[in-house]
């Protein structure tokens, strides 16, 4: 579904990603793991159109999309749930959810259906739908961020550390939600520092080190996390 080939990207003259090669298959939840500064968030931002690659190509369903702005990426079906639970603090919870459907704003009935679906997935958001998003808790903000992204009807959801800075109970709730989305067949690419969460959810794991995919393997019952440590610490092959 998503093919990322020999992509170099960064900020100004500082390159963070070097020859990044990555494939995400339809209906799969893939995870990118890596230590701080390995380029995980930059990889997602590049895929989401927030960082423009200087080399290489990105295709979604065979269509070349590298270099498009982030709003066009969302229109093509690739939507980012950014790190930091970013919401539109002064706008209501419902307005935050609805803005995710901006590119298909003429589809009134579809938007109403999707809004109901988001509310059934996140009942707490329905209760607080008129509240300003800025007063929500961290977990609620993360749910709002997810709900907003789902309103765009994504083919591929890009999740940047959805468990960061959340209480363990809330991380469990977020995991359950992602598992539920995986069951619906939604393709997801998850960037995480929380290895146990990623290993529990993902079908394929990629290890990113110094802006390159150092290791990729399918997850399974015999998956051993101990060798991940080697890649984290830099001694893996």
């Amino acid at each position: 579904m998503l093919e990322c080939t020999n992509v170099d990207a960064g900020y100004g003259k500082v390159m963070i990603l070097h020859d990044l090669n990555l494939t995400v298959r339809q209906g799969q939840l893939s995870a990118i793991l890596g230590s701080n500064g390995s380029g995980k968030s930059t990889a997602l931002k590049t895929l989401a159109g927030l960082v423009t690659p200087v080399k290489g190509q990105i295709t979604l369903d065979g269509k070349r999309i590298d270099g498009l702005p982030a709003n066009a990426m969302t229109e093509h079906g690739m939507c980012l749930v950014p790190q930091g639970k970013e919401v539109l603090a002064g706008m209501s919870v419902e307005e935050n959810i609805l803005i995710g459907a901006f590119h298909r704003r003429k589809d009134k009935s579809g938007i109403a259906e999707d809004l109901d679906r988001v509310y059934s997935q996140f009942p707490r958001l329905k209760v607080r739908r008129k509240a300003a998003a800025g007063v929500l808790s961290g977990g609620e903000r993360q749910m709002l961020s997810l709900g907003r992204a789902l309103m765009s009807r994504p083919k591929l959801l890009l999740l940047d550390e959805p468990s960061a800075a959340l209480a363990p109970k809330v991380v469990g709730e977020i995991s359950d939600i992602l598992r539920g989305l995986r069951e619906t067949g939604l393709t997801m690419l998850l960037v995480e520092q929380n290895v146990s969460m990623a290993v529990e959810l993902a079908e394929e794991i990629h290890i990113l080190r110094e802006g390159r995919i150092a290791h990729s393997r399918l997850n399974g019952p015999d998956f051993d996390t101990s060798d991940l440590k080697a890649y984290y610490l830099g001694s893996g092959a």
Binding site: G49, L50, P69, P82, E95, L98, I99, A149
Partner: protein, 294 residues
């Protein structure tokens, strides 16, 4: 110095009229400076051009009041579109100082262009309303002044409705809150920025047109009003449209009271004193409160 309270309603009425003009020009600047973060020192010249566009409609084309305002809106929309595309968009994403200096250059260019074209003589916009003041109790007011307040109320109400209930309004507010979230939500930030700039230009132009029915227009008409507009935007809090409405009206009223009771020479000082005081006590502005959880 006048200390007679009998004149208070007249001062308040005058303040309401001036404040209404301030509201339109300051709400326009809120969109351009508070939301798009373009420090546009040429905003006063947008106001001035609105006045001359109204002269074009009322004097040269002989149009009545409402069609004249329509002409002003169309001219200023086209002007705003060109300025955003030609002057400010190419500077987007670069050092903000570039845009500030460009706006100064634009301000000087527009003033001198109008001086060259129409000269320095003040020109009046003919409203077509019956001459003479209407007396309501102790208050005397002309039809033009009533029209300024009424037009401001209608335009601002329409803008607030658009911002709250339309997709364009939601997109504009999302851009104001967090451009990255707006972008990843599918909002075409470039297009919405252009629309925002155009609306801001039209509001400044309409303010200039309306105020020129009372105070006349000349090439340097916008020089002081742009400073007042910046005062209002900063005192209200960056990006707060409701705040700009309240502070704009309040500044008009305060200036009128100060001019009436303390002397006309103090009128233009009071706003600057207020902005210094507010920045010292509440740097985010009076209505710049973010509903962030601590």
């Amino acid at each position: 110095m006048v200390s007679d309270l009998v004149l208070l309603p007249q001062f308040l009425t005058n303040g309401l009229v001036i404040g209404s003009g301030y509201v339109l020009v300051a709400v326009g600047l809120t969109l351009i400076f508070g939301i798009l973060h373009i420090v546009n020192f040429a905003h006063g010249e947008f106001y001035m051009l609105g006045g001359f566009a109204a002269v074009l409609g009322s004097q040269l084309l002989g149009l009545p009041a409402l069609p004249t305002l329509l002409v002003v809106a169309v001219v200023m929309a086209a002007f705003g579109l060109v300025v955003e595309r030609v002057v400010f968009r190419p500077l987007g994403g670069k050092d903000p100082t570039n845009a500030i200096i460009a706006s100064f250059g634009l301000s000087v260019l527009l003033q001198n262009l109008m001086l060259k074209t129409v000269g320095a003589e003040p020109m009046a916009v003919k409203s077509g309303f019956a001459p003479g003041a209407i007396q309501i109790g102790n208050v005397f007011i002309t039809a033009e002044r009533i029209a300024i307040v009424a037009a401001m109320a209608v335009i601002v109400a329409a803008l607030l409705l658009v911002l709250r209930y339309t997709w364009t309004g939601r997109a504009l507010r999302s851009l104001s809150e967090n451009p990255t979230v707006a972008l990843i939500s599918g909002v075409n930030v470039r297009r919405v920025s252009l629309i925002t700039f155009v609306i801001g230009s039209v509001l400044a132009g309409l303010s200039g047109a309306l105020m020129s029915t009372v105070f006349m227009v000349q090439p340097n008409s916008g020089a002081l009003i742009v400073m007042k507009a910046f005062i209002i935007v900063v005192v209200a809090g960056m990006g707060s449209i409701e705040g700009a409405i309240i502070v704009g009206l309040a500044l008009g009223l305060i200036e009128s009271l100060v001019a009436g009771y303390m002397g006309n020479e103090l009128r233009d000082i009071v706003g600057f004193l207020i902005v210094i005081l507010v920045l010292a006590v509440r740097p985010q502005g009076l209505f710049g409160l973010k509903t962030e959880r601590s």
